[in-house]
C-alpha cells in the first residue's frame, strides 16, 4: 500500500490521525517514563568515577537528542514549506519550535548542573557547549520571527528560511567532540567499535534508551497538542478576516 503523505497535510485528516495517535502516545510515554525514571534514579549503578551524579545523564542526553531531532524535523518542515507551500508545514514549525527550545534549554541547564561537580565549573566555551548555545539562539530567533510579521504566512516563511540556514549547526554539534579538543566527553552511545558496541555498560544504556523513547513520545504529545491549537487558531484568524 502506498503511503500518501500529502493526505495528512490536510488539517482535517491530521486531526483524525492525532485523535488516533494521542492515546497511544500517552500510554507509551507514561509507561516508558515511569520505568525509565525508576531505572535511572534507583536501579542503575553509580558511575565508578562520577558516583551518583551520573544520574543527570538520563535526562541530559535524551534532552540533547530531542533538541536536535526536533530541529531536524523543523528543518524538513521548513523545506516542505518553502518548496510545496504546505500550510501544515508552517503550523508544524510554530508548534515544534518551542518544544525544541525547551529541550535545548533543559539540555544546557542539566549540563551545567552536571558540569559543576565534574569539571569544577558551570560553563566552559568549548565547541559542544557553544554549538548547543547557538542552537538555543537559533530556536529563539526562529520563534521570534514567526510572530514578527502582520501576515502569519510571511512570519512562517521567514522562520523557515532561518531554520534551513540553522541546519548547518546540527553536524557541528554532533561532531564537535571529534573535530575539536573539548572538555565535554565524547558520545556515550558511539565508541571506537561503532554504534553496535556502545561505550557505556548495558545497565546504564537501558535507562538511557528508555528515557530517550519516553521523552520522544512525550515531545510528540506536546507537538501534536500545540499543532491542533495552531490549526484552530489559523482557522479562527482566517474566518475572522473574511
Amino acid at each position: 500500500m502506498k503511503l500518501n503523505l500529502s493526505y495528512f497535510a490536510n488539517p482535517a485528516h491530521f486531526e483524525k490521525l492525532a485523535k488516533f495517535l494521542m492515546p497511544v502516545l500517552v500510554v507509551a510515554s507514561t509507561l516508558l517514563l515511569a520505568y525509565g525514571l525508576c531505572d535511572a534514579l534507583l536501579l542503575s549503578p553509580p558511575d565508578y568515577q562520577q558516583g551518583e551524579a551520573v544520574r543527570i545523564m538520563y535526562l541530559h542526553v535524551p534532552s540533547a537528542w530531542l533538541s536536535m531531532a526536533i530541529y531536524m524535523a523543523c528543518g524538513i518542515a521548513a523545506i516542505t514549506l518553502i518548496v510545496w507551500k504546505h500550510t501544515l508545514a508552517e503550523l508544524f514549525l510554530r508548534a515544534a519550535l518551542p518544544a525544541g527550545a525547551a529541550a535545548t534549554a533543559l539540555c544546557l541547564l542539566t549540563g551545567m548542573l552536571w558540569g559543576k561537580p565534574m569539571w569544577g565549573t558551570w560553563w566552559v566555551w568549548d565547541a559542544r557547549l557553544t554549538s548547543m548555545l547557538i542552537l538555543m539562539f537559533i530556536y529563539i530567533g526562529t520563534i521570534a520571527l514567526t510572530d514578527a510579521f502582520d501576515r502569519p504566512e510571511q512570519g512562517g516563511t521567514a522562520a523557515a528560511w532561518l531554520t534551513i540556514i540553522g541546519l548547518i549547526n546540527l553536524p557541528v554539534i554532533k561532531y564537535s567532540v571529534t573535530w575539536w579538543s573539548t572538555l565535554h566527553q565524547p558520545s556515550s552511545f558511539g565508541s571506537n567499535n561503532g554504534m553496535m558496541k556502545p561505550a557505556i555498560s548495558g545497565d546504564m544504556l537501558r535507562p538511557l534508551l528508555v528515557m530517550g523513547l519516553g521523552l520522544t513520545c512525550y515531545a510528540a504529545i506536546i507537538i501534536i497538542t500545540r499543532l491542533r491549537a495552531e490549526i484552530i487558531a489559523r482557522r479562527l484568524a482566517v474566518s475572522g478576516a473574511k
Partner: protein
C-alpha cells in the same frame, strides 16, 4: 540492585545537582505541556463559540 533510602535522598552528596536537574526537567517539560493544553482548550472554546454564533 536498589539503593538505600539515605543514598537515594542524598545522591552520594550530589543531591542539589541531581534533584535540581530532575526538578527543572519537571518544570520545563510539565510547563510546556500544561501551557499547550490550556491554549488548545481556550481555542476550542472560541471555535465552538464562533460556530454557535454562525447558527
Amino acid at each position: 540492585m536498589i539503593m538505600d533510602f539515605d543514598t537515594f535522598v542524598q545522591m552520594g552528596g550530589y543531591a542539589f545537582n541531581v534533584w535540581g536537574a530532575y526538578g527543572i526537567g519537571l518544570v520545563v517539560y510539565g510547563g510546556i505541556l500544561v501551557a499547550a493544553l490550556i491554549k488548545l482548550d481556550r481555542l476550542k472554546k472560541q471555535d465552538a463559540q464562533k460556530q454557535e454564533n454562525k447558527k
